[in-house]
Symmetry: C2
Subunit: 190 residues, 2 copies
DNA sequence: AATAAATGAGTGAACGCTCACATCGATTAT
DNA sequence: ATAATCGATGTGAGCGTTCACTCATTTATT
């Protein structure tokens, strides 16, 4: 067993995360990460097989954990509007607590999404499931689930992106209710 | 004067665009581009100063051209809802005509947006201008312009992203009216 | 003393870019 | 008409640098 738990591994992972977000994954070198963590280059390879594996672990761990948290939460609420409110509120909290991690998940999608197997649960699949159920129960008008999910997802996500770029000053959590209201107007249709 | 106009330059630019979208900018080598275009590596440097300049030219040319087209269009319509409909319709057409170019603008943002000066007109600034005007004229309820713009932008953009990933089968243009309706519900509020 | 953790110089491959040279079509001189 | 000349264009081996990764050695912990 490791003497100090996973302290060094966690430090490397967090340092890498921040550099990846600031400079991009490919543009961040292993030397950069080690130097920023105050460690030698070789140390990284004691904890990760490769730079690619580090980037992937950072992505898929948090990506699926977030999806599962959303799913767990969604099951505790009813009807659709309450499910949506709970999920959006959770998303806002997640973002406010760790904007850098959010930035990484967004950034890494382009590279890492290819490695995501179809049976993996993601935030998108949870959202689609919930919307499809809402349509089946006639809580919202029937329509294309994928289109509806894209609209709602984009609406929320882009506000977070603007916040990440400091185009918006409030915390996301303060906007949670406004986001739910807007999403509901989109889904409820006419 | 060039013998064959800019045929080679255009070929290189287009080839680079497609590789950039498929593999990422950093992951695409100058050798890759030249080989895919059926040319030698040195030829690229007859037409572009560097790989970076090529990536930037590809980005900013199309990025600003699209923003200016949106602005030109917006001025021809009134009130806000018609402006919005015209802009969204134009966006859908743009996407349907060249999804790869759209994919590049989306992908390159992370890297290239830092080089965009604040005085450059972008699709975002046009949208914000139009929404601010609509609020001033009381066509829609007053509120945070940035938040409203983010919501509308994300709603439309994410549907395009889903289409780019083949999660949606219809052409974007077929969804144009549904997008306008959804955006209007978001903006019109309660 | 034994073992796990950390080190950093070293390695080979890959990269962006250069440059001396070849090719071609157009222009000018004969 | 023909030849000589020229600049624009294309070529690809080669250069210097950087990168991810390795491994013999040192350091820290029990």
């Amino acid at each position: 067993m490791a003497r100090n738990g996973n302290k060094t591994k966690k430090l490397l992972a967090r340092t890498a995360l921040e550099l990846f977000v600031r400079k991009g994954i490919t543009e961040t070198t292993v030397r950069d990460i080690a130097a920023a963590a105050g460690l030698a280059e070789g140390t990284l390879y004691r904890h990760f097989d490769s730079k690619d594996e580090l980037a992937w672990e950072l992505f898929h761990t948090n990506y699926t954990a977030f999806a599962q948290e959303l799913d767990r939460l969604q099951q505790q609420y009813d009807p659709l509007k309450d499910k949506l409110a709970a999920m959006i509120s959770q998303f806002c909290t997640f973002f406010d607590q760790d904007p850098v991690l959010f930035g990484y998940l967004l950034l890494a999608q382009h590279t890492q999404l290819k490695k995501v197997t179809p049976e993996m649960e993601t935030a998108v699949t949870v959202l689609q499931k919930v919307i499809a159920q809402g349509m089946a129960r006639r809580e919202i008008p029937a329509g294309e689930v994928e289109v509806a999910a894209a609209m709602v997802l984009g609406l929320v996500l882009q506000v977070a992106v603007f916040k990440a770029y400091n185009r918006i000053t409030q915390d996301l959590s303060e906007l949670s209710e406004a986001l739910v209201a807007a999403c509901w107007r989109v889904l409820a249709g006419d």
